[in-house]
């Protein structure tokens, strides 16, 4: 092959003088191609996509009313053709509650994860790259902050701001930021030693440019895995708050809240726990494998 002629540069000039393609294969297409090969990740992606679509189409499937309408005659009804998931302690159709609950839970899961990702990454990258006293100051502050039990902290925030989805999101995000900062910071510290960072400085790069162009893209791997792990944690945190009466306002359904509601009837009607619980499990499992697949797909070094 022409590999042998690399040493003699002049031979190439006549060859491809005019049109050189500097576009590498579109990044996104390339990542997608690699992701498609990972069957488990595709499974996860399909499941999550399905859940999101169903959640968005909820009004088309059944009216919101079904989720909150109480009917004591149907109290604790078992799953049947009319009520696929059965009914809860107030006679409300569990399927409808799970369906509308998915809207809330998925929103909380994604929104908070995204927020913590953005804030945590920027802060972590800055802190990791700068180092020195600023690093110490910020990390120790975050340490103090993480010493506060997250549930109590979230409760305090919700108590201060009031209940509702937005405020829950804020409360939960805040509790997760320190771990994100720590992850990004350690990824950055690992990269900051690499010679290509030094090479960028030698070329006159500013700190901002180095962070955005060199450091963060290479730290994406652990970030993605953490973000996807976060989604399920967020859902559970929201459930905790709902359980304590500080989150979602009943009767608004939310998976975690459904799980806590099911506690009372666990022995008699396990299906009240199984359905929403399974949904949480499936959602977080799918996010997990999708995250693993994305991380592998984004790493050009694993390119075959």
């Amino acid at each position: 092959m022409s590999a042998a002629y690399d040493e003699k540069p002049l031979m190439n000039l006549t060859e491809e003088k005019v049109e050189i393609s500097f576009k590498k294969e579109s990044q996104v297409k390339e990542v997608w191609r690699r992701l498609k090969k990972d069957k488990l990740a595709m499974f996860g992606l399909t499941v999550i996509a399905l859940m999101v679509v169903i959640a968005l189409c909820a009004p088309l499937i059944c009216p919101y009313d079904d989720a909150i309408k109480m009917n004591m005659r149907l109290k604790l009804a078992l799953p049947s053709a009319k009520h696929w998931f059965g009914c809860d302690g107030y006679g409300r159709d569990l399927f409808a509650r799970c369906l509308y609950g998915s809207r809330v839970s998925l929103t909380i899961g994604f929104a908070t994860s995204f927020a913590t990702l953005v804030i945590g990454s920027l802060l972590g990258a800055f802190v990791g790259y700068t180092g020195g006293k600023i690093d110490d100051l910020i990390m120790r502050s975050l340490d103090i902050f993480s010493a506060i039990p997250s549930t109590l902290f979230a409760m305090a925030v919700v108590a201060a701001l009031g209940s509702g989805i937005v405020n829950i999101c804020i409360a939960i995000s805040l509790t997760r930021i320190p771990s994100f900062v720590r992850i990004v910071r350690s990824a950055v510290l690992g990269i900051a030693d690499q010679e290509y960072i030094e090479a960028a400085r030698a070329g006159g790069s500013s700190t901002m440019h180095i962070l955005l162009r060199h450091v963060l893209p290479n730290a994406i791997g652990p970030l993605i895995v953490q973000t996807t792990a976060n989604v399920s944690m967020m859902i559970l945190s929201a459930a905790t708050l709902s359980f304590l009466g500080l989150g979602i306002n009943p009767p608004q359904p939310e998976w975690g809240a459904l799980v806590s509601e099911a506690q009372e009837f666990l022995r008699r009607r396990p299906h009240l726990l199984i359905f929403p619980g399974s949904l949480i499990c499936i959602a977080s499992f799918s996010m997990s494998v999708l995250g693993d697949g994305l991380r592998d797909a984004l790493d050009p070094r694993l390119r075959t």
Partner: protein, 325 residues
Amino acid sequence: MTHESKKSAVPLIETRGLKKFFKVRNGLLHAVDNVSITIPAKNTLGVVGESGCGKSTLGRTVLRLIEPTAGQVLYEGEDITAFDKHQMRQMRRKMQIIFQDPYSSINPRMSVAEIIAEYMLINHTCASKAEAFQRTAELMDVVGLARRYAGVYPHELDGGRRQRIGIARALSLRPKFIVCDEPVSALDVSIQAQILNLLMDIQDDMGLTYMFITHDLSVVKHISDEIIVMYLGQCVERATSDGLFASPLHPYTQALLAAIPEPDIEMRNKKIQVIRGEVTSPVNPPPGCRFASRCEKATDLCRAQTPELIEHTSGHWVACHLYDK
């Protein structure tokens, strides 16, 4: 006498008493200790020594990639150690570096073309992005990288080609001075020869000045005009390339030369001369010659007083009490 001809007498690079100390847990690490060198334009200064001698630190300190603790670095007579951030950024275009490790010195997430074009884009040296990429193509030709690799990622290429990427990148801002930090040490023997030839050709074509850092004496002899030998942060000998190999003065230089196994079976049963012991610590070094503990010819004077670098014969400097006049 015009300004131009006066300028040509000034060496391109000069350091005066350059020092770099690092604070470590139990004291001060003397990485570079009082090194004064001059490199005339279009010349190559070889910096040779073993691990821990401070040669890599010296290279980076000259470029102010590591800030010097003391001393000056002069570029064409101007003291760049006094430059502020903005002025230093301008200087970066004239002084560049080629790294040793072709694997960690390029960003694995950028394509070959992006890596080479990066400096030009950051420094806005080209009128447009298209022009930057055109220049990238030309650089790839110069270093012998087939243009079809432009969109490829570095991990798909071998060490030799990656090193060519690093060289192309270093050339992109049209520097006058390049620090080559062990650019061929990580490569196979036959690839080493290719890259060395390339570096020498580029030097001739573009009139570059090199500081060539290496531990390999045969390589340094081949490429350098003048050589300095470093030991524990200090320059112990300095001479022209021919002069150093013809008559090495410092016991360390002699030991270094004697330690190289020669590819000649006639020399087979010659026992390789070994220096006894190990390198002493560069942290809080005691007074006196730093090589004294390993030197067979060391005297009490050697252990008490650090020898100065003095010109023994024309153009040949040595820091050793054996040559005290």
